[in-house]
């Protein structure tokens, strides 16, 4: 019980410190690395790592770069309300999976801005939150 509380407290403090230390990014708001969770994702795990880039015309990137990486096939930002839509195909536990992420940029003005929203796939759905690093 106590170790669980301590773990959560340490994670909270670490998260706050990470938020403070995020590098400045005054260009396109989506560009950069984002770390967080897609909660309840049993197929790919809770941990979510997004790497996004902007070439002047479109947003590109990768979900969970590494052995389970999924190349993003569609990513859009609507500047009218700062909503984000991302689609990617990949594999989870050796089975094909298609993800759709929808969210909104929170604290746009901060280097440590977040995307908060939902994820869904053929395996389920849940809440999503990633913080720019």
């Amino acid at each position: 019980m106590m170790s669980n509380i301590i773990r959560k407290a340490v994670l909270l403090v670490a998260g706050l410190l990470l938020a403070v230390s995020a590098g400045a990014q005054e260009g396109h708001p989506l560009k950069g690395s984002w770390i967080g969770e897609w909660k309840g994702n049993q197929a790919s795990g809770d941990f979510l790592f997004l790497v996004l880039d902007w070439d002047g015309k479109k947003v590109s990137g990768t979900i969970n770069p590494g052995t389970d990486d999924m190349v993003i096939k569609t990513a859009t930002l609507n500047p009218a309300d700062w909503t984000v839509h991302i689609e990617a195909d990949g594999k989870a536990k050796d089975k094909p999976v298609s993800y759709t992420l929808d969210g909104k940029i929170v604290n746009l003005e901060l280097p440590s801005r977040s995307i908060v929203g939902t994820w869904k796939s053929q395996n389920g759905s849940g809440a999503l939150e990633v913080v720019r690093q």
Binding site: I6, L12, V20, A24, G27, H28, G56, P79, E109
Partner: protein, 370 residues
């Protein structure tokens, strides 16, 4: 949790982290309108308790009596540089003096006032002056070096007081203050050919009264054209032996830019030079008659390239032309090509004025205090 000591340690750690994070922006340097509301003009009279004569802003503390109650107010003034230029010094007022101060109040309702006018009785002790140097009636030719080239710098003097504080496309007329805040937000789309996301971000920065400006908030360098739109100016230092031109800045974090004149190939990738993108990019220059032509790329995205917060991306390429048609005038023209943030290349131009016989003023923001 059973262990009260552990519990209190954890609480302290969390509280420290939260307070540290939340108080950081409040302590930082800022554009005036980010902290103070122009619509809240007021006047207070009180007795000086302390004078804090430091960059970037001087503070005078007053005890103000209302009925039987006494409250301490912080009066924020311009930088020591500008106050000195207006005839004030650190000893112009002393604890015990009774002052009347006109100003605008802090947006958060705290007892803080921004003031540009301080009186003692019926005598105005201080009011900000226009510090533009007088322009000689007769235009003198630009000085030339032994090689016959126009000199942009000399031992005594610097370039300051730009004709425009606003980075705006040539031919466009919009009103902005010296911090780059638009008088009318509806003019935002006229300023430059911004892509939709960049226009929305620019408007967001304007709506927040520029309080997120990293040059003020985090002492970031004013990269790109912004360094030529500061009152505190710049100084050219030409190193002919090493074939470099250094541009020293009086404001921001008192930094410098290097222009390589040695004919090297341009370095820095248009797509970002991810190994080491820079605040001032990588600049190479050459002479075109009496004008200095500079092209620069390899910028990072960690700064605002203009007063007022026009966005840019790492695709930014600047082509600049510096000319000195006479002793007192520096003509600056910049072509901005950033396919990441703008729909097409665009140009802007303005002039700077020669300030003779003075060193470029030094104004540090590193202390990161209000």
């Amino acid at each position: 949790m059973q262990n009260p000591r552990l519990k209190s340690l954890l609480a302290a750690a969390i509280t420290s982290a939260v307070l540290g994070w939340s108080s950081a922006p409040a302590l930082a340097h800022h554009p005036v309108q980010a902290k103070f509301d122009k619509a809240t003009e007021m006047s207070i009279t009180g007795v000086v308790t302390n004078v804090d004569w430091k960059n970037p802003h001087v503070h005078v503390f007053l005890n103000v009596k209302t009925g039987t109650a006494v409250a301490n107010w912080a009066v924020e003034l311009e930088s020591p540089l500008l106050l000195k230029g207006s005839g004030w010094s650190s000893t112009s007022v002393k604890p015990g003096d009774t002052l009347t101060v006109k100003g605008i109040r802090a947006r958060d309702g705290s007892r803080q006032l921004w003031s540009e006018s301080v009186s003692k009785g019926s005598t105005t002790l201080f009011a900000l002056k226009d510090l533009h140097p007088a322009v000689p009636a007769k235009k003198e030719p630009a000085p030339r070096g032994a090689d016959g080239k126009v000199m942009f710098g000399s031992a005594a003097g610097y370039w300051g007081f730009p004709s425009s504080y606003a980075l705006v496309e040539d031919g466009v007329k919009v009103k902005m203050d010296k911090y780059g805040q638009l008088a009318d937000l509806a003019d935002a789309a006229k300023v430059a050919p911004l892509q939709p996301w960049a226009l929305a971000l620019y408007k967001k920065r304007q709506q927040r009264d520029l309080r997120d400006d990293p040059m003020f908030l985090h002492c970031k360098p004013p990269g790109g054209p912004r360094e030529y739109q500061s009152d505190l100016g710049i100084k050219f230092v030409e190193d002919k032996v090493n074939q470099r031109v250094f541009i020293l800045m009086g404001s921001g974090n008192h930094n410098y830019r290097i222009i390589y004149m040695d004919g090297r190939e341009k370095v820095g990738s248009v797509t970002g030079d991810d190994d080491n993108p820079l605040y001032y990019g990588r600049a190479i220059g050459k002479w075109d008659g009496d004008a200095l032509l500079v092209t620069t790329k390899g910028f990072n995205e960690d700064f605002w390239m203009s007063n007022g917060g026009l966005p840019h991306t790492s695709s930014l390429v600047l082509t600049e032309r510096f000319a000195r048609p006479d002793m007192n005038t520096l003509q600056y023209q910049v072509s901005i090509d950033d396919r990441g943030a703008y729909t097409r290349p665009w140009t802007a131009s303005w002039t700077m004025q020669w300030v003779p016989d003075q060193e470029v003023p030094i104004h540090f923001c590193q202390d990161n205090r209000p």
